[in-house]
Symmetry: D3
Subunit: 332 residues, 6 copies
Amino acid sequence: MQVTTFGEIMLRLTVPGNQKFVQTDWFHANYGGAEANVAVSLALLGDQATFITKLPNNILGDTVIQKLNEFGVDTNRIVRGGKRLGLYFLQPGAGVRSSKVIYDRNDSAFAASKDGDYHWDELLDGTDYFYISGITPALSEELQATLLSAVKFCQDHSIKVIYDANFRGKLWTADEANTFNSKILPFVDICLVNDEDLENAFGLKAFDNRNHQAIHEKDSFKQSLEELTTNYPNIKLVASILRNIYSAQKSDWQAILLTDHKFYESSTYNMQVVPEVAAGDAFGAAIVHGVLNNFKPQFQVDYAIAAATLKLTIPGDFNLSRDSEIRDAMTR
Amino acid sequence: MQVTTFGEIMLRLTVPGNQKFVQTDWFHANYGGAEANVAVSLALLGDQATFITKLPNNILGDTVIQKLNEFGVDTNRIVRGGKRLGLYFLQPGAGVRSSKVIYDRNDSAFAASKDGDYHWDELLDGTDYFYISGITPALSEELQATLLSAVKFCQDHSIKVIYDANFRGKLWTADEANTFNSKILPFVDICLVNDEDLENAFGLKAFDNRNHQAIHEKDSFKQSLEELTTNYPNIKLVASILRNIYSAQKSDWQAILLTDHKFYESSTYNMQVVPEVAAGDAFGAAIVHGVLNNFKPQFQVDYAIAAATLKLTIPGDFNLSRDSEIRDAMTR
Amino acid sequence: MQVTTFGEIMLRLTVPGNQKFVQTDWFHANYGGAEANVAVSLALLGDQATFITKLPNNILGDTVIQKLNEFGVDTNRIVRGGKRLGLYFLQPGAGVRSSKVIYDRNDSAFAASKDGDYHWDELLDGTDYFYISGITPALSEELQATLLSAVKFCQDHSIKVIYDANFRGKLWTADEANTFNSKILPFVDICLVNDEDLENAFGLKAFDNRNHQAIHEKDSFKQSLEELTTNYPNIKLVASILRNIYSAQKSDWQAILLTDHKFYESSTYNMQVVPEVAAGDAFGAAIVHGVLNNFKPQFQVDYAIAAATLKLTIPGDFNLSRDSEIRDAMTR
Amino acid sequence: MQVTTFGEIMLRLTVPGNQKFVQTDWFHANYGGAEANVAVSLALLGDQATFITKLPNNILGDTVIQKLNEFGVDTNRIVRGGKRLGLYFLQPGAGVRSSKVIYDRNDSAFAASKDGDYHWDELLDGTDYFYISGITPALSEELQATLLSAVKFCQDHSIKVIYDANFRGKLWTADEANTFNSKILPFVDICLVNDEDLENAFGLKAFDNRNHQAIHEKDSFKQSLEELTTNYPNIKLVASILRNIYSAQKSDWQAILLTDHKFYESSTYNMQVVPEVAAGDAFGAAIVHGVLNNFKPQFQVDYAIAAATLKLTIPGDFNLSRDSEIRDAMTR
Amino acid sequence: MQVTTFGEIMLRLTVPGNQKFVQTDWFHANYGGAEANVAVSLALLGDQATFITKLPNNILGDTVIQKLNEFGVDTNRIVRGGKRLGLYFLQPGAGVRSSKVIYDRNDSAFAASKDGDYHWDELLDGTDYFYISGITPALSEELQATLLSAVKFCQDHSIKVIYDANFRGKLWTADEANTFNSKILPFVDICLVNDEDLENAFGLKAFDNRNHQAIHEKDSFKQSLEELTTNYPNIKLVASILRNIYSAQKSDWQAILLTDHKFYESSTYNMQVVPEVAAGDAFGAAIVHGVLNNFKPQFQVDYAIAAATLKLTIPGDFNLSRDSEIRDAMTR
Amino acid sequence: MQVTTFGEIMLRLTVPGNQKFVQTDWFHANYGGAEANVAVSLALLGDQATFITKLPNNILGDTVIQKLNEFGVDTNRIVRGGKRLGLYFLQPGAGVRSSKVIYDRNDSAFAASKDGDYHWDELLDGTDYFYISGITPALSEELQATLLSAVKFCQDHSIKVIYDANFRGKLWTADEANTFNSKILPFVDICLVNDEDLENAFGLKAFDNRNHQAIHEKDSFKQSLEELTTNYPNIKLVASILRNIYSAQKSDWQAILLTDHKFYESSTYNMQVVPEVAAGDAFGAAIVHGVLNNFKPQFQVDYAIAAATLKLTIPGDFNLSRDSEIRDAMTR
């Protein structure tokens, strides 16, 4: 079984410690992106994972490829060209202080890429699963068209499509997201969707109040997931993380999985850490890993939430956890 | 409107991490002082701020000036001369371990400065507000005389005086502080006073028990503030931070403001951070900013406590927050 | 009064921050070992402390000696020779992530040392107390024989023996430990024993359930301690730390001391820190310091738990606390 | 006397040590640009210096302004707006290894700025000298037009124009440079020109062979300078640095100044350092400082080469040297 | 064409800066070994490279594999098992101060590996070239037998053997080396041999005096190389680096290549850097790259010396240079 | 044989890298002083060394003592008390840039110490050699008296006096130094004197021209040394380092020793390093070590210059070299 993920990978430049931009002489450099993160997770779990993107033909592009190779991701199908690597600056928040992000991803090789850059017959040759997220269509209309032509190719060639809703309000509006998602959801076999995504990206009301704690209102959330699978019967599996957030370093995490009209709930983790990013990608990868390896649904959702909470403790975008470590975390 | 602050700025040498003196080969260097911190805050908020002190005529003195210039503070009236820059060594505490401070500020250019070093007619020319604190009179009798001659000058030239009580038990006794404060309070228009200052510096009993949690005993504190403004009717505005402290990294923060015989209370912030220093100076600066910009009292006190809690998250002595960041913190 | 401790000291190589092995280009280097830690604590508290071990005749061996000299430990009786310095790699845990240890101590100069390497008549000449732990006999049968010949020497020469049970499940089995301990306990005057040691190392059942919180089940623990002193009436003093552990950075700590058939309990500390290692050694050293200086039992146990909680805040293996700092922590 | 400089300031992200891109997790961050560097130098030398540019309206833009304020540069006339801050990545060379630069400055606020962004009557109000370089016209035709309108404004308002040729082969061709320079040189009063610029930017042949050591072939270089001032008699002063480069860390530096048809040569410095950047800007600033303060030509050229060689030892783009340090370096 | 290299890869722990062991709290961690370095170089140059070794089944073993994957080396044939990863501590020298190495590689998984661990029919399946060095036979007699059985397998299956003499006086004596080399040289097709190796490892006298500068005495060295190929006519190509060493950071480097009875000499590089390690491995890899890609001998030797001098500037054991960078260095 | 050294030890705060004060947020912390450095060297060489000074009764004082203990120096006779630890800030020079020192040692515990602080009968009890330098008398007249009473005590108790001239022009004038030295030299048995000291401190003309290279003018220097021993026949041994300095990182070092009317010259070392400080103290210590161990004069001077050049490569003030390392350096 072979999984291909497709999306943008960027350079993140982070202000260290609790400093502010004006205080620092150093940026911590880190490469990541939702779909690349998933490919790395899968490769470390022993699955065959290919990552497709477009990278500039310079040393930064080469560096990205080496960082992916390190974890065993197949990078041979990455398209080279374009002007620059997308990047963003991050000044993490603390206490009452918000985090600050300065996106500098316009005109990146991927964001400016064209449908014609991707020859799906070659790129997806031999693939069994195609993993994409809602970030890519938010980047350009061209990329929306690209995604739709890709999923059509998948449908024609019996490649299963996995879609992580991943709504990003800074990149497009809820209306734009809804419009696009109504076009792509009919092609999706497995759907990952956060509590925040359901309403913004899919137009389904999940909670009554804006400041909900998701685990407390699990029931209304479940109703929405059922509605989703009723609307799109092609979706065979939906998985979600629900979080109650109490403070910057205190939160509860639970996962829920719907398949064959039945819900499976993971145990709940009380996290007391300043969380690292990309837990959702670790979760998505673990769900896919379960599909590839025929995990039973209950084990699959338990395994995936353990992978997600483990990622909260690991610096960087990639979940560097191996199978034994996830199973160890399941017992704690 | 132009504000002038006057006091000492020192070099702080801090042992990094949780290390002890004997473990470290490195000291983190940082320049700060109550009145300089206020000037920086005001300059960053867009007000015209001048800082006056006496600095040695060496590279460390030059460095202090450049650090202040960075944030837009007017440093042109700083007096140069004297033997050395005051400094102190700090080994921060952790858990049951107390922090350790080694002061090395004797004979500093400022502490040894004389009344004749400061020509108030030139130094305060054009100033509307004069900001001082209870640290300066604790340094020498000469500086007590200097402050008294300065506030008399202010009275004669319609310059408003802002006084932050800032009692430092390591520098003088409560008796000495009371004696001096009874001389200067008749000249004060705006007074900032902590829960710990009221009793030690002003001789007013604020709480019944020594280990009080200030927010819980707000009422007795208010009585003392009223007594203060009754004793010194020249004081038009008093503002205070009240804290309940639960552990090294858990505390509640609320502010209170008394003006025109009426109390205004801010909302309460539950802080879960290892706090950085100088929140009181950030608070004082924000109160002054409100005065300069005609904030309504309720907004003023809400704004000031947000500035203070924001400072708790920022390394160093200076509150690097801009107006938009304080307003953002008010909504969190 | 002179104390001699005997055991292995190793190089610890720690992955910094929350990184994983594959992410780091740097290891933090630190030298420590239970018995060396005790010697350092005692020397810093002003007692005469000698540390005996076997170290390789290379620069790493020299470095260990200099690190011990720094704190005033007498290192003149250390035996030199053997192949290598024992070392281990540590990747600290975080949240649901377990810590990972890779031991690399086989064939170390100490682990491979022979009975004949230690001439107790010379090495213990002038000593009043001999401090050992249950780690040493776990390293080899030869070292078991060495320890037994040493304690017999002590018995013959009126040197008191202090034994810290310190069971290490990675080095030997509970059965092996029980067998050896039944041979050495008849020589022991002062015994330090953790809640986890009692059952594994001494074969005494301390708690009914496996996931006990020790402070909550203090009574059953006390019964076991009484049983220990009944079985081995030569043991004049037993001291233990009891912990309730709520999360990686939240725990309660209390100590208990049994002497003259009477129990003394310390106050309980609520710790909210990511704990540093070797609190048990700090505790043991403080108990011994109390013995050397004729502390009353209640003060002794209060002093020792303060020393232990202080160590939780100090990086490295050595408790760099002096007497005044421990007394200060007792009041917090 | 007041000097205004105009140009782009960028964020430089440098790979630390001798590492390569793929090895580093950290970039050193540094802000600089030829014309900003000159403004900083002048401000530190005590001259009134204003820097004009266009910066994005985000925190990085604010940070740049604070960094300039630190040294006393007037930043009040900086235009805000546009998409992003220009930046570039630098992997320094070593031995036979070339340095690698990845420019990422397209679409920067300055590079994309329009003539209409700059209202010269306001921006140059009160200015006596206007300092520009050949980097700006290389960025866009729009900026060429902007510069020409600016220098016309200067001519009409008796503002002297200082032009540093600063040819950058990565930004435009020699032909393009020659075409533009033939338009701007008639407006220039003071010209700074490197050995590499003369041919590429001004179309004057300075040396016979490509791999010349400039000091050895000073005579042919002088001829070209004379030709320049003959062609453009409006140019009252020309100054140049000549270098013999023997290896990455060994070179000779000499300066030459032509005014009133007479040449002045500085002494020659044998440099044995890995040189920091921006020595040319330090030189240019020192020449301007000499003009502002009526230095005699021989002293002016000696002073300027000392400033340049001093900059070779200072990390970052800004020459943090004060007058006393330059005079000290002149004696070494 | 596919190359397989076989040998040990170790963890190097280096004291940073000019510090001594007793001064440092940090070790820089780096993985490398002659044959692994060659595999990395080849993979980065675009060749198919497989590395075979035996690594312990722990996280350090996993880490080594990921570090090799990063550069595209095929690690699928690495044998897992054994006790520990070999390691060594390095305190670099400076000026008159010698570097200090503490080897701690006894009992490493590779050093203790047995002939039966390596199934050459599987491990070398599909390989065209087999690269080994004189370090491996110095580790144990078992590994000598292993190497001899491997090269016999190569002879039987038309796999070319490349042998880097790499004499290590700390691991075995010249006599032992000569004895073994006389057995393996009849199987070698390509031989890499340093000036220091010829005499110690092959028993051929290369220079008259002990403190020779190799480039100055090139002629006598050439005679020895001719003697080598006369003795072992199976050796079709010999390549060597010759160095004149003037000080810790000043040396001349030249390479020499003998094939078809003809000598080819590279140009000479004057290096003025504190050299990084493993230039010889970079050289060997480049020679092999030339063989794989049919470089003409003169170009091959020029290319290889450029690769070697480039490595002198790159931290760590791996030559991170790509083809374009080597060609660029050839022109400097 | 037991050596006691007496003088001040200070905290040095150094700006890291090539940065300037205004650029750094960190100071490197290091403790050192001429006489303490000598004690450390001797202890590491295996001699019995005691250091006497006066240190403040705070954590910085404790830290100094621990740093000395690390190397085996006897610190039990150090006097405690006084106001503060002396310190100085150092910004190292580079290229044409001078180093900058800001002394902040006034009022230090040692500088302000009184004759009555030192009870020589107790402090020098059991000592065979007393080592002092010309820095101490430069600090105060009180310390001049102290030194004179100490050397008289030595004369009365057959303790040999070693005096390192160590003239410091920032602390006193040449006239003051000459006056004091004429009083103390009659008590000196062994004298260490630099080329710069002879004229300034002893009033003996050593070189004709001011910018001499000392090795080139060895003969005139020898004449002065002879004159010194003629004037003070009590001086049995004089040793000096002579240096030719070519650039910041290039110099020649040679030592000369005069005893029994005969000169011994060491070989000359060509140093190509950025030198660390305190080579002179390493030299002095090695001379004393030779005296204690009856080295022959030629070996003694060779050994001492090797120790000095070794120190040039070791960060910090202490020469961390052991006997074997010095002997190794002698062969390079």
